[in-house]
C-alpha cells in the first residue's frame, strides 16, 4: 500500500476532480522538501496555532512581572523575605530567584510543560491527520501522490516543528523578560554558584532540546490517536486526559512501581539544570522514556494509517 498510492486513490479522484490522474506521470513522487514546506506553512497559517503560540510567549512575561511586583511590594525592606519564601512552599526557586534570566525561562518551561505545551502539540497532531480527514484535505495528500509512510513522516515533522517552536518561544520569552527585569544579576544556580551568560545559554539550549523530545513523545501518541479518528477534539481530549491521569497517579507513593512507565514522571528532572554541576542522569532517563513513547506512538500511527481506507 505504501508504494501503491496512485493506484489505490485513483478511483476516488474522479468524483472530486481536483487533479486529473492522467496529468501525473506514472510513479512520480511529490518532492519531499516541498511537502514539508507546505505542511509547515499550513500549520503556521492556522489562527489557533498563532493564538496559542502568542499565549505561550506571553505567560513567562506575565509570571516575571507578577513575581517582580509582589517582591517589590510588601517585601521591599527584605529583598528576599523569609515570608515570601515561606508562602510558596511548593516552588522556592520561583520565589527567591524568580525574576532572574536563568530561573524564569526554566521555571516557565517546567510549568507550561505540565499542560499548555502538550495541549499545543496535541492540537497540532489532531489537525494533522484527524482534522484534515474530517475536511477531506487528507485525500489531497494521497493524490499528490504521497505514500502513507511518507505522509506520516511529513506530519511528524510538522508536529516536531510546532514542539520546537513552542518550547523555544517559551524559553526565549522568559530569558528576555528576565534580562529586562533583572539584567544579568541573579544568574545563580541552586548550588549557589554564579553562572556566566554562556553557562546559562547552554543550559537553556539543553532545556529546549529536552522539552522538544518530551513534546514529540506526546505528539507521537497524539498522532496515533489522530490516525484513528476523524475528530481532532478527541485527540486533544484524550492526550490531556491521559496526562492528567498520569499526573494524578504520580501523586500516590503506593503506585511507585508504575511511575517509571508514566511519561510525566521525568518532568521534575528539568530542575537538575539549575544545579551546578548539572547531573544528567534524570534528564537522560526522561529523554529515553520519551523515546520509548515516541516509538510506541509512531508505530501505532503507522499501522493505523496504512490500513485505513481512503
Amino acid at each position: 500500500m505504501t508504494t501503491g498510492g496512485p493506484m489505490a486513490t485513483g478511483p476516488m479522484t474522479l468524483p472530486e476532480g481536483t487533479v486529473p490522474p492522467e496529468v501525473l506521470p506514472a510513479r512520480r513522487r511529490a518532492p519531499f522538501g516541498r511537502l514539508l514546506r507546505a505542511e509547515v506553512r499550513w500549520i503556521f497559517r492556522r489562527p489557533r496555532t498563532l493564538v496559542v503560540l502568542a499565549l505561550l510567549a506571553a505567560l513567562p512575561v506575565i509570571t516575571g512581572v507578577a513575581v517582580d511586583l509582589s517582591l517589590d511590594g510588601p517585601g521591599a525592606s527584605a529583598p528576599v523575605g523569609p515570608g515570601a519564601a515561606g508562602a510558596g512552599g511548593e516552588a522556592p526557586i520561583f520565589v527567591t530567584m524568580a525574576t532572574s534570566a536563568f530561573v524564569l525561562p526554566l521555571g516557565s518551561l517546567m510549568t507550561l510543560l505540565m499542560l499548555l505545551l502538550p495541549l499545543t502539540v496535541a492540537m497540532a497532531s489532531g489537525d494533522a491527520l484527524a482534522g484534515e480527514q474530517s475536511t477531506g484535505a487528507l485525500r489531497g495528500w494521497l493524490l499528490a501522490p504521497v505514500a502513507r509512510g511518507r505522509l506520516l513522516v511529513v506530519k511528524s515533522v510538522g508536529v516536531l516543528v510546532v514542539a520546537l517552536a513552542a518550547s523555544t518561544l517559551v524559553v526565549t520569552s522568559g530569558l528576555v523578560t528576565g534580562l529586562v527585569l533583572a539584567g544579568t544579576d541573579g544568574l545563580v544556580s541552586m548550588s549557589g554558584t554564579e553562572l556566566s551568560i554562556g553557562g546559562v545559554l547552554w543550559r537553556l539550549a539543553i532545556a529546549i532540546a529536552w522539552a522538544t523530545v518530551y513534546l514529540m513523545a506526546v505528539g507521537a501518541v497524539a498522532l496515533a490517536i489522530s490516525a484513528s479518528t476523524e475528530h481532532p477534539m478527541v485527540v486533544v481530549v484524550s492526550v490531556l486526559g491521559g496526562l492528567i491521569v498520569s499526573q494524578v497517579l504520580l501523586q500516590f507513593s503506593a503506585l511507585d512501581w508504575l511511575h517509571p512507565y508514566l511519561l510525566p514522571s521525568s518532568l521534575d528532572s528539568l530542575v537538575d539544570l539549575i544545579r551546578d554541576p548539572v547531573s544528567f542522569d534524570g534528564l537522560a532517563e526522561g529523554a529515553f522514556r520519551a523515546l520509548c513513547y515516541l516509538v510506541i506512538g509512531l508505530s501505532l500511527a503507522y499501522a493505523r494509517l496504512t490500513t485505513r481506507d481512503g
Partner: protein
Amino acid sequence: MRPSTKALIAAGTGIAAGIAGLALTALPAGADDDPVLPAIDAEQLVASALEARPPAFAGVAEVQNELGLPSVPGTPIDAELLDFDAVRVFHDGEESARVQVERQSSELTFVKTPDEAWAYDSQENTVQHVTWDEADLAAAREHAGGSAAGEMTNGLADPSQAATEIIERLRPTSDIVVDGTARVAGRAAYELVLTPKPAEKTLLREVTVAIDEETRVPLRFDVFANGSSDPVLSLGFVEFEVGAQDADLFEFTPPEGAEVETTEAGDLAGAAGERAGAESGAEGTEPGTEQGLTTVGDGWDTVVIGAAPADAPGAPAGALPEGSAESGQDLDGLLGQIGEPVSGEFGSGTHVPFAVGGVIIADDGRIAAGAVPQQVLVDALGTE
C-alpha cells in the same frame, strides 16, 4: 505481504520495543552477583576503614527512609531531615569536600576546604560561612563528634563519614562480623554487620555497612529493625567513581543577594549541638552531651533527653506568649493523634513511636528519644 499484516508487525514491534524500554528504566540497578573477595577479619576491616583516607571521588547517594517519622514542628522529630531525592558527594582526596543535598526544587550545598566551610540553602537563599585558624582546628578536632564545620559536611549527608563515625561509637556494645560481600554502585564491597549485644534493650536488629574493597570507603549503610527483612533506613551510593575532581568544585563564592552569616569555629559548638540534637532524635545514635542534652545508657539503648523549645507543645501554657497559645493547642491535638499518652515515675507525657524507636514528650517539657521500647524511655526519664 498484505498491508494489514505489515501494519500488525509494525505496531507489534513498536509497542514491544517501547514497553521493553520503559521496563528497562523501571529495573532496579545492581542485580549483579556478589563478588568473591579475599577473606578479612572484622577487626582488620573496621581498622582499615577507620584509617583509610577517602580518595578523590565523585558519587551519588540515595536514601530510603521507612522510619515512619511523624513530623512535629518544634520538636526534634523532624521527618524533613531525610526528605531529599539524592546527595551528590565530591571529594578531592585531601581536606576538601562538596556535598549537595538535592531536594525536589531546592538544594543544600556544603563546601568544605582546609580552612573554611560554606553551607548554602537555596530555599532560604542563605549562606553560612565558618572559618577557623590552626588553633581552632586543633581544638575542634578534639571536640566530640568532630568540629562544627565537620558536622556540617560530615553529618548524615555523606555516607562515608557517617558510617565511619557510627562504627566507632558502636564497637563497645556490638558484635561486629564480616558477613559476605555485596556489589554497591558497581563496586565490590564487604558487608560489615553490627548486631547489638544481647544485653542491649533496642528495637534495632542489625546495622550493615558495605565497605568498598579497594578504597575502604563505606558505600552503603542499612538499618534493620526487629521483625522486618527490608531496611528501615538505607543510605548509600548509587554511583561512585574514583578520580581527580575539578578544583572549582571546592570553591564557593556566596551569590549576590544571599544572606551571609559568618562565624568562627569556636562559636559554632552551640549551633552544632542543636543540630546534633536534631539528628540524634532521628537516629538515636548520637551521644549528644551539648546544649542541655543528656543521655541515659550507652550504645544501642542510648536515650537522649532534652528540653523542648519554648514554643513546643509540651511547654507549660503560662510560659507561652499570647500569640502562640493557639498553635500550642493545635500541636497538642496533633500529638494526641500520632502518639499515645504514657505515664510513669517521671510524670506523664505522650509517646510517639516510629519504626525503630520512639519519643516521649513529657508534660514538663522534657523530650526523650531513642531506638528503644517505650518502657526504656520511661525508665530513662525517671532516672535522670
